[in-house]
Each structure stands twice: as structure tokens, then as C-alpha cells.
């Protein structure tokens, strides 16, 4: 009898412990997810109710040129950021781990600092650096192209520039992950390889790279998911322009919902983005696990 009341009491206490999280989760995560699916089949405005329209929103999406432009730009942005930032972070991390003492702490702090800035601070600074008339970086553009470039108003320069700003802003995070990964590699491996007369390059390709692969895979996949959700920098630097050359999916969700008042259509686009990211996440999770089992 005492056992049963104890058991009951344990369950009751557990319920009070999990209640705050579970209730918030249901309210701000689960319910909006269900509502999003529901709304995507209606022609509702942002605020107010709409009629059931079946798959009309999705059919419209498939014939919407802006959707394909956005999808293409999302892909382009991923190409411009994911692998470059990973390679750069690895190089910086390898440099930092070879430094010692206070110098190491200082250099790490300087490379990490941009990561803790609010995105709008980052975009304000870079807008000023790249200002067409007075930007401190315009002489660099003038040197290579012969004249100053209004980068955020130029369809060829806009995405590479936003990508560069993004890498500058977020790279410190990746550097940290690589430093942790490099520290986890036992120095025994290097000593053994050095005794065998391995060159620097061999040390990197035969020891560092394979042992670091789990961290590299983690960085690549975290970046992939993060960059698919790009909105802030694009909105603040170029607003999707010029001529939609930096339009992305989340910007499309924002415009449709909050500027054009198309709640239903925006939900349909959001649902597509949602599914896309969940699929990529699940795939990467499986891949990481498969990679982990091999070792």
C-alpha cells in the first residue's frame, strides 16, 4: 500500500516538475505547428478566418516564379557560406591551438567577438563599411573592378557580400567547435606519427582530418540548417533586392503574411520550409549516427 502511494506521489511530483515546460511547449510550439498546417489549406488573411481551399495554395506555390527564385537563392546562399565558413574556421582553429598562453586567449577572443553581436549591429557596421560613396572598403572594389560598386544594389555582388558578412558574424562559433575537437585529439597520435617521420601534411591528412571528422560533419550540418533559415541579414542589408536577386523563402513568408496579408499562402510556404528543414535535420542526424558507428 505504501509502495503504491509512493509511486503515485512520485508521478504527481514529476507532473508538477515537467508542467511549466510542457504547457509552454504545447502553447507556443505544438499549437502553432498544427495551426500552420490547418491554415495552409485556407485562404485566410493574417488576422481573421478564411475558406477551405484544399491544395490551392500549394498549386499556386508550384507556379509562383518567386518561389523558385527564393529556393534557388537559398541554395546559392548555402553554397556561398557552408563550406567556406567551415574551411576558414578549421584553418583559424588550427592556428589558434598552436599559440600559447595569453596570446591564444586574446586571438580567440578577437575572432569570437563578432558572434556575440546583435545582427542589426553587424549589418549597420557593414552597410557603413560598404557605403557606395564613403565606404572604407570601396577603394578595394575600385582596385579590382575599376570603380566603386553599390554592392547591395547589384544583383551579382549582393549574395556574395551578404554571405561574407554572415561568415564574419558567425564564424567564431565554428572556430570554437573546431578548437574543442582539436583538443580532444590525444597528442600520442602526433608523437607516434612524428616518430615514424611523418611530414606536416601527412600529420594533417592521416591524423588530424580523420579524427576531427565528427566535428567537421557537425559544423557542416549545423551551418547547413542555420543558413537555410536565412532572413535577418538579407532583410536588413538588401531587403531581397535588387530585382529579387536575394529573395529567400523566409523573406517570402514574411512578405506574404505581414505585408500582403495572405495568412493562408504564407502558412503554405512556411510549411514547405518547415518540412525542408526537418528533412535535412533528420537526414543529417542519421548520417552523423552512421558516421559515428563506423569509428
Amino acid at each position: 500500500m505504501a509502495m503504491i502511494t509512493n509511486r503515485r506521489r512520485e508521478v504527481a511530483v514529476a507532473m508538477t516538475l515537467i508542467a511549466p515546460f510542457v504547457l509552454t511547449f504545447v502553447l507556443v510550439f505544438l499549437y502553432p505547428t498544427i495551426r500552420m498546417i490547418e491554415l495552409s489549406f485556407t485562404d485566410a488573411p493574417l488576422i481573421g478566418t478564411g475558406e477551405w481551399v484544399g491544395l490551392a495554395n500549394f498549386k499556386r506555390l508550384l507556379t509562383d516564379n518567386l518561389f523558385y527564385t527564393s529556393l534557388k537563392n537559398n541554395g546559392y546562399f548555402v553554397l556561398l557560406t557552408v563550406v567556406p565558413t567551415t574551411a576558414l574556421a578549421l584553418a583559424i582553429a588550427m592556428m589558434i591551438t598552436r599559440l600559447k598562453g595569453p596570446l591564444q586567449a586574446l586571438i580567440l577572443a578577437l575572432f569570437f567577438l563578432p558572434y556575440i553581436l546583435p545582427v542589426s549591429v553587424v549589418t549597420q557596421i557593414w552597410t557603413w563599411m560598404l557605403d557606395f560613396q564613403f565606404g572604407v572598403l570601396q577603394p578595394v572594389f575600385a582596385f579590382f573592378t575599376g570603380k566603386p560598386v553599390p554592392v547591395f544594389k547589384n544583383p551579382y555582388w549582393v549574395m556574395p557580400t551578404v554571405a561574407t558578412v554572415t561568415i564574419w558574424w558567425t564564424n567564431g562559433f565554428n572556430v570554437l567547435l573546431f578548437i574543442a575537437g582539436l583538443r580532444n585529439i590525444s597528442s600520442d597520435y602526433y608523437e607516434a606519427a612524428a616518430l615514424d617521420g611523418a611530414t606536416r601534411w601527412q600529420l594533417f591528412t592521416k591524423v588530424t582530418w580523420p579524427l576531427l571528422w565528427p566535428v567537421t560533419a557537425l559544423v557542416l550540418t549545423l551551418q547547413l540548417i542555420l543558413q537555410l533559415k536565412i532572413f535577418d541579414q538579407i532583410y536588413l542589408l538588401s531587403s531581397g533586392g535588387p530585382f529579387n536577386s536575394s529573395y529567400v523563402l523566409l523573406l517570402m513568408v514574411y512578405r506574404e503574411a505581414f505585408q500582403l496579408n495572405h495568412g493562408g499562402y504564407a502558412s503554405a510556404i512556411a510549411l514547405v520550409l518547415f518540412v525542408l528543414i526537418v528533412v535535412v535535420s533528420v537526414l543529417q542526424f542519421q548520417l552523423l549516427r552512421a558516421g559515428g558507428n563506423k569509428q
Binding site: 516538475l17 502553432p32 505547428t33 495551426r35 542589426s120 520550409l273
Partner: protein, 275 residues
Amino acid sequence: MKTRKLENWVLGIGSLLAAAIWVFPLYWAFITSIRTEERVVSEGAGVIPDEFNLSSYLAAIFDTKLLTWYWNSIGTSVIITLVVIVSGMMCAYAISQMRFPGRRLLYGVVLASFMVPSQALVVTQFILMNDMGLINTWAGIILPQLIVPVVIIVYKQFFDAVPKEMREAVVLDGGGDYTLLFKIYLPLNWGITTALAIITFISAWNQFFWPFLVITTENQMTIPVGITQVNDAFGVYYARLMSVALLGAMPVAIAYLVFQKKVTEAVMISSGVKG
């Protein structure tokens, strides 16, 4: 041995140079902010500081709502941090140390929500906040930011590692699970608690997309959203824009420099590369 020493010198100087280039945008923003507006756009305003003029900082503080935005950012970020840490800790303790129906399902949901892109939910979250009358309120900013699954995942790992013998003394004294959590499990994990609190605070402080959607009046804006309004108010007065940006970044930058070790530790632990 000599080449080794030379190499260290080259590496040290090279890395200093690389780091200097990396932080140049911040340096340039600072140099701009302490110049007069005329000097900023004049010919030959080079990279060497030649003026020390704080008038644009005064304009940033007194001609914008910066102080109000600070207050909104501090208030909402502190509340988010407290709620996320306390609710996450309680939930993690239950999952780690107690038996109740649905425990595995709950942990599965926590792990799964890690993969859910909250950005895709903004439309319906906005509708929900509107239905609850929370547009342009702190509660509206705070509520959707209270789900931080990684806090639960990290706490669970650390609670799992606490030796079972620690429980027994408390249980023999008739202490319940709340006593266990707050007298044993929390004090043993102060280090991880402060680390998680710091990164939760920084990420709440830096949040842009959601506060930007849910807040439309300047008086309720947070720092990251408010900063973007200054363009409209000032136009192209770059010294003032840079002053506002740097003042907006200051609290987290100081927090980072003070708690540098904790921040790096927290980032490593919460992304799972260090346990």
C-alpha cells in the same frame, strides 16, 4: 631548435595580423563614432584616429529611445533566462531521476524539437499572440522564446552523471524530489547553470526576427530592433549610427569579455563537442 623559435614568432605575428584584420570592422565603427559627422564623410578621413568627439554618443542616448530599448532588452532577456533555466532544470530532473508515464516520449519530443525551425512558426505564433492580446508587450516578446530544448538536454546529461549515493542521505531524512533538486542536484551543477544562463541571455538579447514581428511601437522595442529605426530618424549620419550600434552591442560584449571562459565552455557543451 632555432627554426622552431623563429616559426613561433612568425605564427604569433601572423595570427595577430589576421585577428586585427578580422576585428577591423569594429575598430572602424569605433573610429567613425568618435568623429564629427563632417569629418566622417570628408576626404582623407583615414584609419588613424584623429578626433575624439563624443557628441554622436550624446545624440545616440538623448535623441533616440536607446535607454527605453535597453530597459526592454534587459527586462525580457532576464525573464527569458530565468524561466528557461528553472523550467528546463525541473523538466530535466524529472526526466533524469524520476519514473512517470510518458517519460521517454517527453524526452523524444525534447530531442525532436531541437530540429524544428521556430522561424517557420512565426506566422501562427503571431496570430496566437494577437488572439491573446500580446502584440507590443513584453509577454509577446518572451513567450515564444521560452522553448530552448538544449538546456534540458544538457541538464539531463549532467544530472544523469550525479552519483546515486548523493540521493540517499536526503531521502533517509524524508526529503522529496524538490529538496533533492534544489539542495543536491542544482548546487552540484552551478557551473553548468551559469554557463547555460549566460548563453541563453546572450541569445535572447540578440534575438531579432521575432521581436521585430511582434513589436511595432518604438517604446516597446528591444535593442536589436530599435537600432534599425535609427536609420529613419537620423538618415545618413554615420557617426551617430555607429554610436548607436556600438552602445547596443556593449552589454553583451562586456558580458562576453568578463565571462569569456564560461561562454566558450557553454558553447562547446551545448553543441555536444565537450561533455
